[in-house]
Protein backbone atom coordinates (compact mmCIF):
# COMPACT_ATOMS: atom_id res chain seq x y z
CA UNK A 1 0.00 0.00 0.00
CA UNK A 2 2.67 2.44 1.00
CA UNK A 3 4.49 1.69 -2.23
CA UNK A 4 1.37 2.64 -4.16
CA UNK A 5 0.86 5.87 -2.22
CA UNK A 6 4.51 6.88 -2.03
CA UNK A 7 5.69 5.82 -5.43
CA UNK A 8 3.13 4.87 -8.05
CA UNK A 9 0.41 7.42 -7.32
CA UNK A 10 2.62 10.54 -7.56
CA UNK A 11 4.31 9.21 -10.67
CA UNK A 12 1.00 8.42 -12.32
CA UNK A 13 -0.37 11.89 -11.51
CA UNK A 14 2.73 13.62 -12.90
CA UNK A 15 2.69 11.48 -16.05
CA UNK A 16 -0.98 12.21 -16.74
CA UNK A 17 -0.54 15.95 -16.19
CA UNK A 18 2.54 16.11 -18.43
CA UNK A 19 0.79 14.20 -21.22
CA UNK A 20 -2.37 16.31 -21.01
CA UNK A 21 -0.39 19.56 -20.98
CA UNK A 22 1.63 18.59 -24.03
CA UNK A 23 -1.47 17.38 -25.85
CA UNK A 24 -3.53 20.49 -25.25
CA UNK A 25 -0.59 22.72 -25.98
CA UNK A 26 -0.01 21.26 -29.43
CA UNK A 27 -3.44 20.10 -30.55
CA UNK A 28 -6.40 22.23 -31.25
CA UNK A 29 -9.88 20.81 -30.79
CA UNK A 30 -12.22 23.76 -30.53
CA UNK A 31 -12.22 27.17 -28.84
CA UNK A 32 -14.13 25.84 -25.80
CA UNK A 33 -11.58 23.09 -25.14
CA UNK A 34 -8.64 25.42 -25.48
CA UNK A 35 -10.39 27.91 -23.17
CA UNK A 36 -11.05 25.16 -20.63
CA UNK A 37 -7.45 24.04 -20.86
CA UNK A 38 -6.06 27.51 -20.22
CA UNK A 39 -8.41 27.85 -17.23
CA UNK A 40 -7.12 24.56 -15.86
CA UNK A 41 -3.56 25.73 -16.53
CA UNK A 42 -4.20 28.95 -14.57
CA UNK A 43 -5.86 26.97 -11.76
CA UNK A 44 -2.79 24.75 -11.46
CA UNK A 45 -0.56 27.83 -11.15
CA UNK A 46 -2.90 29.23 -8.51
CA UNK A 47 -2.58 25.99 -6.56
CA UNK A 48 1.17 26.45 -6.68
CA UNK A 49 0.84 29.89 -5.09
CA UNK A 50 -1.38 28.44 -2.36
CA UNK A 51 0.90 25.46 -1.69
CA UNK A 52 3.98 27.70 -1.61
CA UNK A 53 2.32 29.97 0.93
CA UNK A 54 1.59 27.04 3.21
CA UNK A 55 5.09 25.71 2.69
CA UNK A 56 6.35 29.04 4.05
CA UNK A 57 4.71 28.20 7.37
CA UNK A 58 6.59 24.90 7.39
CA UNK A 59 9.73 26.88 6.56
CA UNK A 60 9.15 29.25 9.48
CA UNK A 61 8.76 26.34 11.86
CA UNK A 62 11.89 24.74 10.42
CA UNK A 63 13.93 27.90 11.02
CA UNK A 64 12.59 28.12 14.57
CA UNK A 65 13.48 24.48 15.24
CA UNK A 66 16.96 24.90 13.79
CA UNK A 67 17.76 27.92 15.93
CA UNK A 68 16.31 26.51 19.14
CA UNK A 69 18.35 23.33 18.74
CA UNK A 70 21.50 25.31 17.88
CA UNK A 71 21.07 27.58 20.89
CA UNK A 72 20.68 24.61 23.20
CA UNK A 73 23.75 22.91 21.72
CA UNK A 74 26.12 25.84 21.37
CA UNK A 75 24.87 28.18 24.07
CA UNK A 76 26.08 31.75 24.17
CA UNK A 77 28.24 31.53 21.07
CA UNK A 78 25.20 31.07 18.86
CA UNK A 79 22.55 32.78 20.99
CA UNK A 80 22.92 36.41 19.76
CA UNK A 81 22.57 35.43 16.09
CA UNK A 82 19.67 33.10 16.75
CA UNK A 83 17.93 35.67 18.92
CA UNK A 84 17.98 38.23 16.09
CA UNK A 85 16.60 35.71 13.59
CA UNK A 86 13.88 34.45 15.91
CA UNK A 87 12.76 37.91 16.99
CA UNK A 88 12.52 39.08 13.36
CA UNK A 89 10.56 35.96 12.51
CA UNK A 90 8.12 36.61 15.34
CA UNK A 91 7.89 40.28 14.31
CA UNK A 92 6.85 39.22 10.80
CA UNK A 93 4.11 36.99 12.19
CA UNK A 94 2.87 39.84 14.39
CA UNK A 95 2.75 42.16 11.38
CA UNK A 96 0.81 39.58 9.42
CA UNK A 97 -1.70 39.21 12.27
CA UNK A 98 -2.03 42.98 12.60
CA UNK A 99 -2.60 43.32 8.86
CA UNK A 100 -5.15 40.55 9.04
CA UNK A 101 -6.96 42.37 11.82
CA UNK A 102 -6.91 45.61 9.79
CA UNK A 103 -8.48 43.98 6.78
CA UNK A 104 -11.02 42.29 9.06
CA UNK A 105 -11.94 45.63 10.61
CA UNK A 106 -12.18 47.39 7.26
CA UNK A 107 -12.89 44.96 4.41
CA UNK A 108 -12.71 47.78 1.83
CA UNK A 109 -8.97 48.18 2.48
CA UNK A 110 -8.33 44.73 1.06
CA UNK A 111 -5.45 42.60 2.34
CA UNK A 112 -3.57 45.15 4.44
CA UNK A 113 -0.47 43.13 5.38
CA UNK A 114 1.92 44.83 2.99
CA UNK A 115 0.17 48.18 2.81
CA UNK A 116 0.18 49.03 6.52
CA UNK A 117 2.62 51.91 7.11
CA UNK A 118 4.62 50.12 9.83
CA UNK A 119 5.31 47.20 7.53
CA UNK A 120 6.27 49.52 4.70
CA UNK A 121 8.64 51.40 6.98
CA UNK A 122 10.29 48.16 8.01
CA UNK A 123 10.47 46.99 4.42
CA UNK A 124 11.93 50.19 3.01
CA UNK A 125 14.29 51.04 5.85
CA UNK A 126 15.47 47.65 7.05
CA UNK A 127 14.88 45.02 4.42
CA UNK A 128 15.52 47.04 1.25
CA UNK A 129 18.96 48.43 2.26
CA UNK A 130 20.07 45.03 3.55
CA UNK A 131 18.93 43.39 0.33
CA UNK A 132 20.69 45.97 -1.83
CA UNK A 133 23.84 45.69 0.30
CA UNK A 134 24.15 41.94 -0.22
CA UNK A 135 23.52 42.40 -3.92
CA UNK A 136 26.27 45.00 -4.13
CA UNK A 137 28.74 42.63 -2.47
CA UNK A 138 28.81 41.18 -5.98
CA UNK A 139 30.85 44.19 -7.13
CA UNK A 140 33.64 43.27 -4.75
CA UNK A 141 33.45 39.59 -5.51
CA UNK A 142 33.46 40.24 -9.21
CA UNK A 143 36.59 42.34 -8.79
CA UNK A 144 38.45 39.71 -6.75
CA UNK A 145 37.25 36.91 -9.05
CA UNK A 146 38.46 38.74 -12.15
CA UNK A 147 41.78 39.49 -10.43
CA UNK A 148 42.27 35.72 -10.20
CA UNK A 149 40.49 34.59 -13.36
CA UNK A 150 42.05 36.91 -15.91
CA UNK A 151 45.63 35.68 -15.55
CA UNK A 152 47.14 35.04 -18.95
CA UNK A 153 48.19 31.43 -18.51
CA UNK A 154 47.75 30.41 -22.15
CA UNK A 155 46.63 31.89 -25.51
CA UNK A 156 42.95 31.13 -24.77
CA UNK A 157 43.17 33.07 -21.52
CA UNK A 158 44.68 35.96 -23.46
CA UNK A 159 41.73 35.90 -25.85
CA UNK A 160 39.35 35.92 -22.88
CA UNK A 161 41.16 38.89 -21.39
CA UNK A 162 41.11 40.86 -24.65
CA UNK A 163 37.36 40.34 -25.08
CA UNK A 164 36.77 41.24 -21.43
CA UNK A 165 38.72 44.47 -21.88
CA UNK A 166 36.71 45.39 -24.98
CA UNK A 167 33.44 44.93 -23.08
CA UNK A 168 34.74 46.77 -19.99
CA UNK A 169 35.94 49.75 -22.03
CA UNK A 170 32.76 49.69 -24.12
CA UNK A 171 30.65 49.85 -20.98
CA UNK A 172 32.41 52.87 -19.52
CA UNK A 173 32.64 56.46 -20.61
CA UNK A 174 36.44 56.36 -20.19
CA UNK A 175 36.60 53.81 -23.00
CA UNK A 176 35.00 56.33 -25.33
CA UNK A 177 37.68 58.90 -24.42
CA UNK A 178 40.47 56.43 -25.18
CA UNK A 179 39.10 55.21 -28.48
CA UNK A 180 35.57 55.79 -29.81
CA UNK A 181 35.58 52.39 -31.52
CA UNK A 182 35.17 50.50 -28.23
CA UNK A 183 31.44 51.09 -28.20
CA UNK A 184 30.71 49.56 -31.59
CA UNK A 185 33.24 46.80 -30.94
CA UNK A 186 31.43 45.97 -27.70
CA UNK A 187 28.11 45.85 -29.55
CA UNK A 188 29.66 43.49 -32.09
CA UNK A 189 31.05 41.22 -29.38
CA UNK A 190 27.67 41.11 -27.69
CA UNK A 191 25.60 40.49 -30.81
CA UNK A 192 27.84 38.10 -32.74
CA UNK A 193 30.25 35.89 -30.72
CA UNK A 194 28.21 36.17 -27.53
CA UNK A 195 24.97 35.15 -29.19
CA UNK A 196 26.77 32.35 -30.98
CA UNK A 197 27.94 31.02 -27.62
CA UNK A 198 24.65 31.46 -25.80
CA UNK A 199 22.34 29.86 -28.34
CA UNK A 200 23.93 26.38 -28.27
CA UNK A 201 23.80 26.41 -24.47
CA UNK A 202 20.11 27.28 -24.59
CA UNK A 203 19.48 24.60 -27.22
CA UNK A 204 21.54 22.05 -25.25
CA UNK A 205 19.64 22.83 -22.07
CA UNK A 206 16.38 22.36 -23.97
CA UNK A 207 17.53 18.95 -25.19
CA UNK A 208 18.58 18.00 -21.67
CA UNK A 209 15.15 18.97 -20.38
CA UNK A 210 13.40 16.84 -23.01
CA UNK A 211 15.48 13.77 -22.11
CA UNK A 212 14.94 14.40 -18.40
CA UNK A 213 11.23 14.52 -19.21
CA UNK A 214 11.58 11.16 -20.94
CA UNK A 215 13.13 9.70 -17.79
CA UNK A 216 10.27 11.15 -15.72
CA UNK A 217 7.69 9.69 -18.10
CA UNK A 218 9.32 6.27 -18.05
CA UNK A 219 9.45 6.43 -14.24
CA UNK A 220 13.23 6.27 -14.16
CA UNK A 221 13.92 9.62 -12.47
CA UNK A 222 12.65 9.37 -8.91
CA UNK A 223 14.82 11.81 -6.98
CA UNK A 224 12.09 14.50 -7.07
CA UNK A 225 9.99 12.30 -4.80
CA UNK A 226 12.82 12.28 -2.31
CA UNK A 227 13.90 8.72 -2.85
CA UNK A 228 15.81 6.64 -5.29
CA UNK A 229 14.53 3.10 -5.29
Amino acid sequence: MSLVVRRYAPQAIVTIIILLTVMFFYFYVNPETSEAFSRADKALSDWVVVITSFALIVGGIDILRFHLVRMRKEGLRQAPFSAVTISLLVLMVLFALHGWYLSYADPAAGIAITTQPQFRWLYLNVYAPADAAVYSILVFYMASASYRAFRVRNPMALLLLVVALIVIFGNTTVGGLLWPGFLSLRDWVMTVPNTAAFRPITIGAGLGIIILGLRLLTWREVSWMGRRE
Partner: protein, 286 residues
Protein backbone atom coordinates in the same frame (compact mmCIF):
# COMPACT_ATOMS: atom_id res chain seq x y z
CA UNK B 1 65.89 34.58 -4.05
CA UNK B 2 65.28 37.98 -2.49
CA UNK B 3 63.66 38.99 -5.77
CA UNK B 4 61.19 36.13 -5.34
CA UNK B 5 60.36 36.97 -1.75
CA UNK B 6 59.94 40.65 -2.66
CA UNK B 7 57.53 39.62 -5.39
CA UNK B 8 55.67 37.39 -2.99
CA UNK B 9 55.23 40.10 -0.42
CA UNK B 10 54.15 42.52 -3.16
CA UNK B 11 51.60 39.99 -4.31
CA UNK B 12 50.44 39.54 -0.75
CA UNK B 13 49.81 43.25 -0.37
CA UNK B 14 48.24 43.80 -3.81
CA UNK B 15 46.38 40.51 -3.76
CA UNK B 16 44.87 41.14 -0.37
CA UNK B 17 41.13 41.44 -0.58
CA UNK B 18 41.06 44.27 1.95
CA UNK B 19 43.08 46.63 -0.26
CA UNK B 20 41.09 45.82 -3.38
CA UNK B 21 37.76 46.16 -1.59
CA UNK B 22 38.68 49.48 0.04
CA UNK B 23 39.88 50.99 -3.22
CA UNK B 24 36.79 49.71 -4.99
CA UNK B 25 34.50 51.22 -2.37
CA UNK B 26 36.24 54.58 -2.77
CA UNK B 27 36.12 54.37 -6.55
CA UNK B 28 32.35 53.93 -6.40
CA UNK B 29 31.56 56.54 -3.73
CA UNK B 30 33.92 59.40 -4.69
CA UNK B 31 32.68 59.94 -8.28
CA UNK B 32 29.08 60.04 -7.05
CA UNK B 33 30.01 62.77 -4.54
CA UNK B 34 32.24 64.62 -7.02
CA UNK B 35 31.12 63.84 -10.58
CA UNK B 36 33.86 63.88 -13.19
CA UNK B 37 31.45 64.70 -15.98
CA UNK B 38 32.92 62.43 -18.64
CA UNK B 39 30.70 62.81 -21.74
CA UNK B 40 28.47 59.86 -22.65
CA UNK B 41 28.53 58.62 -26.20
CA UNK B 42 25.27 57.21 -27.57
CA UNK B 43 25.54 53.62 -28.74
CA UNK B 44 23.74 52.47 -31.84
CA UNK B 45 21.49 50.04 -30.06
CA UNK B 46 20.17 52.65 -27.64
CA UNK B 47 19.69 55.04 -30.52
CA UNK B 48 17.75 52.33 -32.39
CA UNK B 49 15.40 51.95 -29.44
CA UNK B 50 14.97 55.71 -29.16
CA UNK B 51 14.25 56.04 -32.88
CA UNK B 52 11.73 53.21 -32.72
CA UNK B 53 9.80 54.79 -29.88
CA UNK B 54 10.10 58.21 -31.49
CA UNK B 55 9.21 57.36 -35.09
CA UNK B 56 7.30 54.07 -35.16
CA UNK B 57 4.87 54.67 -32.30
CA UNK B 58 1.84 56.76 -33.19
CA UNK B 59 1.02 59.67 -30.86
CA UNK B 60 -1.48 58.59 -28.23
CA UNK B 61 -0.35 54.98 -28.50
CA UNK B 62 -0.88 52.34 -25.82
CA UNK B 63 2.08 50.74 -24.09
CA UNK B 64 2.25 47.96 -21.51
CA UNK B 65 5.17 48.02 -19.08
CA UNK B 66 6.08 45.04 -16.93
CA UNK B 67 7.75 46.23 -13.70
CA UNK B 68 9.61 43.19 -12.42
CA UNK B 69 12.54 44.06 -10.21
CA UNK B 70 13.32 44.09 -6.52
CA UNK B 71 14.86 47.00 -4.66
CA UNK B 72 18.35 45.52 -5.05
CA UNK B 73 18.19 46.01 -8.82
CA UNK B 74 16.68 49.49 -8.57
CA UNK B 75 19.92 51.31 -9.29
CA UNK B 76 20.26 49.83 -12.74
CA UNK B 77 16.65 49.48 -13.84
CA UNK B 78 14.80 52.46 -12.39
CA UNK B 79 16.72 55.04 -14.48
CA UNK B 80 15.80 53.05 -17.59
CA UNK B 81 12.15 52.92 -16.55
CA UNK B 82 12.03 56.65 -15.78
CA UNK B 83 13.68 57.64 -19.07
CA UNK B 84 11.34 55.39 -21.08
CA UNK B 85 8.26 56.66 -19.23
CA UNK B 86 9.34 60.24 -19.86
CA UNK B 87 9.76 59.57 -23.57
CA UNK B 88 6.38 57.82 -23.83
CA UNK B 89 4.51 60.50 -21.87
CA UNK B 90 6.15 63.19 -24.03
CA UNK B 91 4.69 61.46 -27.06
CA UNK B 92 1.28 61.39 -25.42
CA UNK B 93 1.27 57.63 -25.00
CA UNK B 94 -0.91 55.93 -22.40
CA UNK B 95 0.77 53.37 -20.18
CA UNK B 96 -0.52 50.31 -18.36
CA UNK B 97 1.95 49.07 -15.74
CA UNK B 98 1.79 45.59 -14.27
CA UNK B 99 3.95 43.32 -12.13
CA UNK B 100 4.24 39.56 -12.25
CA UNK B 101 6.06 39.66 -8.93
CA UNK B 102 5.03 40.85 -5.50
CA UNK B 103 8.16 43.01 -5.14
CA UNK B 104 7.19 44.88 -8.29
CA UNK B 105 4.56 46.71 -6.23
CA UNK B 106 7.19 48.28 -3.98
CA UNK B 107 9.44 48.99 -6.97
CA UNK B 108 6.57 50.79 -8.70
CA UNK B 109 5.74 52.95 -5.71
CA UNK B 110 9.40 53.94 -5.35
CA UNK B 111 9.60 54.67 -9.07
CA UNK B 112 6.54 56.92 -8.85
CA UNK B 113 8.08 58.85 -5.97
CA UNK B 114 11.36 59.27 -7.85
CA UNK B 115 9.66 60.39 -11.06
CA UNK B 116 6.91 62.48 -9.46
CA UNK B 117 7.48 65.28 -12.01
CA UNK B 118 6.45 62.98 -14.86
CA UNK B 119 3.14 62.07 -13.25
CA UNK B 120 2.22 65.62 -12.19
CA UNK B 121 -0.13 66.47 -15.04
CA UNK B 122 -1.20 62.89 -15.71
CA UNK B 123 -4.54 61.55 -14.55
CA UNK B 124 -4.68 58.09 -13.04
CA UNK B 125 -7.04 55.85 -14.96
CA UNK B 126 -6.94 58.00 -18.08
CA UNK B 127 -3.23 58.33 -18.85
CA UNK B 128 -1.81 55.47 -16.85
CA UNK B 129 -2.90 52.52 -14.75
CA UNK B 130 -1.01 50.25 -12.39
CA UNK B 131 -2.46 46.75 -12.26
CA UNK B 132 -0.37 45.68 -9.26
CA UNK B 133 0.84 42.17 -8.53
CA UNK B 134 -0.60 39.53 -10.81
CA UNK B 135 0.01 36.01 -9.50
CA UNK B 136 0.66 33.01 -11.72
CA UNK B 137 3.87 33.81 -13.63
CA UNK B 138 3.81 32.35 -17.15
CA UNK B 139 0.19 31.16 -17.03
CA UNK B 140 -0.80 34.67 -15.93
CA UNK B 141 1.23 36.17 -18.80
CA UNK B 142 -0.67 34.01 -21.26
CA UNK B 143 -3.96 34.91 -19.65
CA UNK B 144 -3.20 38.66 -19.71
CA UNK B 145 -2.41 38.42 -23.41
CA UNK B 146 -5.92 37.05 -24.03
CA UNK B 147 -7.71 39.46 -21.76
CA UNK B 148 -6.55 41.67 -18.91
CA UNK B 149 -10.06 42.14 -17.54
CA UNK B 150 -10.55 38.36 -17.77
CA UNK B 151 -7.47 37.81 -15.61
CA UNK B 152 -7.89 40.38 -12.87
CA UNK B 153 -10.84 42.54 -11.87
CA UNK B 154 -9.24 45.31 -9.81
CA UNK B 155 -6.04 47.35 -10.10
CA UNK B 156 -3.39 47.80 -7.42
CA UNK B 157 -5.47 50.38 -5.56
CA UNK B 158 -8.68 48.39 -5.57
CA UNK B 159 -10.41 50.28 -8.43
CA UNK B 160 -12.55 48.11 -10.66
CA UNK B 161 -10.97 47.91 -14.11
CA UNK B 162 -14.30 48.68 -15.86
CA UNK B 163 -14.35 52.04 -14.10
CA UNK B 164 -10.98 53.11 -15.53
CA UNK B 165 -11.27 54.81 -18.95
CA UNK B 166 -7.87 53.54 -20.10
CA UNK B 167 -8.79 49.93 -19.34
CA UNK B 168 -11.89 50.27 -21.50
CA UNK B 169 -9.58 51.17 -24.43
CA UNK B 170 -7.21 48.24 -24.01
CA UNK B 171 -7.78 44.66 -22.96
CA UNK B 172 -5.70 42.16 -24.93
CA UNK B 173 -2.15 41.88 -26.24
CA UNK B 174 -2.95 43.17 -29.71
CA UNK B 175 -4.38 46.41 -28.28
CA UNK B 176 -0.87 47.50 -27.33
CA UNK B 177 1.59 49.13 -29.73
CA UNK B 178 4.59 48.19 -27.62
CA UNK B 179 5.32 46.06 -24.60
CA UNK B 180 8.29 47.01 -22.43
CA UNK B 181 9.69 44.50 -19.96
CA UNK B 182 11.82 46.02 -17.22
CA UNK B 183 13.09 43.00 -15.36
CA UNK B 184 15.89 41.86 -13.10
CA UNK B 185 15.18 38.20 -13.92
CA UNK B 186 15.78 36.34 -17.17
CA UNK B 187 12.66 34.20 -17.24
CA UNK B 188 10.16 37.02 -17.60
CA UNK B 189 11.60 38.03 -20.97
CA UNK B 190 11.02 34.50 -22.22
CA UNK B 191 7.43 34.51 -20.85
CA UNK B 192 6.59 37.56 -22.95
CA UNK B 193 8.36 36.20 -26.02
CA UNK B 194 6.43 32.93 -25.73
CA UNK B 195 3.04 34.27 -24.68
CA UNK B 196 2.81 37.74 -26.22
CA UNK B 197 5.18 37.90 -29.18
CA UNK B 198 4.97 34.42 -30.72
CA UNK B 199 1.16 34.10 -30.79
CA UNK B 200 0.17 37.75 -31.22
CA UNK B 201 3.22 39.41 -32.78
CA UNK B 202 3.30 42.31 -30.29
CA UNK B 203 6.60 44.25 -30.48
CA UNK B 204 8.66 43.82 -27.31
CA UNK B 205 11.35 46.03 -25.83
CA UNK B 206 13.67 44.77 -23.09
CA UNK B 207 15.31 46.68 -20.26
CA UNK B 208 17.65 44.40 -18.33
CA UNK B 209 20.55 44.29 -15.92
CA UNK B 210 24.02 44.18 -17.48
CA UNK B 211 24.58 40.62 -16.28
CA UNK B 212 21.34 39.47 -17.89
CA UNK B 213 22.06 41.26 -21.19
CA UNK B 214 24.02 38.48 -22.90
CA UNK B 215 21.34 35.87 -22.28
CA UNK B 216 18.49 37.84 -23.82
CA UNK B 217 20.60 39.04 -26.74
CA UNK B 218 19.48 36.04 -28.90
CA UNK B 219 15.84 37.24 -28.69
CA UNK B 220 16.85 40.63 -30.07
CA UNK B 221 19.02 39.00 -32.73
CA UNK B 222 16.11 36.82 -33.83
CA UNK B 223 13.84 39.85 -34.14
CA UNK B 224 11.60 38.76 -31.28
CA UNK B 225 12.29 42.07 -29.58
CA UNK B 226 12.80 45.43 -31.24
CA UNK B 227 15.77 46.20 -29.04
CA UNK B 228 17.10 46.30 -25.53
CA UNK B 229 18.43 48.71 -22.95
CA UNK B 230 21.09 47.10 -20.81
CA UNK B 231 22.12 48.43 -17.43
CA UNK B 232 23.33 51.83 -16.34
CA UNK B 233 25.08 52.67 -19.58
CA UNK B 234 21.89 52.44 -21.64
CA UNK B 235 20.01 54.34 -18.96
CA UNK B 236 22.57 57.15 -19.09
CA UNK B 237 22.37 57.29 -22.88
CA UNK B 238 18.58 57.30 -22.87
CA UNK B 239 18.54 60.04 -20.24
CA UNK B 240 20.70 62.18 -22.51
CA UNK B 241 18.39 61.45 -25.47
CA UNK B 242 15.15 62.36 -23.66
CA UNK B 243 16.74 65.24 -21.79
CA UNK B 244 15.99 64.25 -18.22
CA UNK B 245 19.27 63.61 -16.49
CA UNK B 246 19.01 61.37 -13.48
CA UNK B 247 20.66 58.56 -11.57
CA UNK B 248 21.73 56.75 -14.74
CA UNK B 249 24.13 59.46 -15.84
CA UNK B 250 25.15 60.21 -12.25
CA UNK B 251 26.42 56.69 -11.74
CA UNK B 252 28.26 56.46 -15.07
CA UNK B 253 31.39 58.05 -13.60
CA UNK B 254 31.35 55.58 -10.72
CA UNK B 255 30.98 52.76 -13.23
CA UNK B 256 33.93 54.09 -15.21
CA UNK B 257 36.26 54.51 -12.23
CA UNK B 258 35.41 51.13 -10.70
CA UNK B 259 35.87 49.38 -14.04
CA UNK B 260 39.22 51.11 -14.53
CA UNK B 261 40.32 50.01 -11.07
CA UNK B 262 39.45 46.42 -11.94
CA UNK B 263 41.41 46.74 -15.20
CA UNK B 264 44.38 48.07 -13.23
CA UNK B 265 44.20 45.16 -10.82
CA UNK B 266 43.97 42.67 -13.68
CA UNK B 267 47.10 44.25 -15.14
CA UNK B 268 48.93 44.12 -11.80
CA UNK B 269 47.85 40.52 -11.25
CA UNK B 270 49.22 39.57 -14.65
CA UNK B 271 52.46 41.47 -14.15
CA UNK B 272 53.11 39.67 -10.86
CA UNK B 273 52.11 36.33 -12.33
CA UNK B 274 54.47 36.68 -15.28
CA UNK B 275 57.41 38.07 -13.35
CA UNK B 276 57.04 35.18 -10.90
CA UNK B 277 56.89 32.72 -13.76
CA UNK B 278 59.95 34.20 -15.44
CA UNK B 279 61.98 34.38 -12.23
CA UNK B 280 61.03 30.85 -11.20
CA UNK B 281 62.17 29.62 -14.62
CA UNK B 282 65.46 31.42 -14.10
CA UNK B 283 65.63 30.03 -10.59
CA UNK B 284 64.96 26.55 -11.90
CA UNK B 285 68.21 26.55 -13.92
CA UNK B 286 70.47 27.35 -11.02
Amino acid sequence: MSEMSALRSLEKVLGSKELLYTLLLLSVILPILHPLGIPVEISKRTLDVYEYVDKKLPPGCHVYIEVYYEVAARGELEPNLIALTKHLFDKGCKIVYGSLSAFGVVAFSLFKTMAADLFEDKVYGRDYVYLGYIAGSEAATASLARSIRGTISVDNYGNRLEDLPLMREVDKATDFDLVIIVSSGTDVFAYYVRQWHTPYGVPLLFAALSVIGPSIEPFVGAGQAIGMLVGQRSAAEYEVLVGRLGLGIASMDAQSTSHMLIVAFIAIGNAIYWSKRVSSQRGGSK
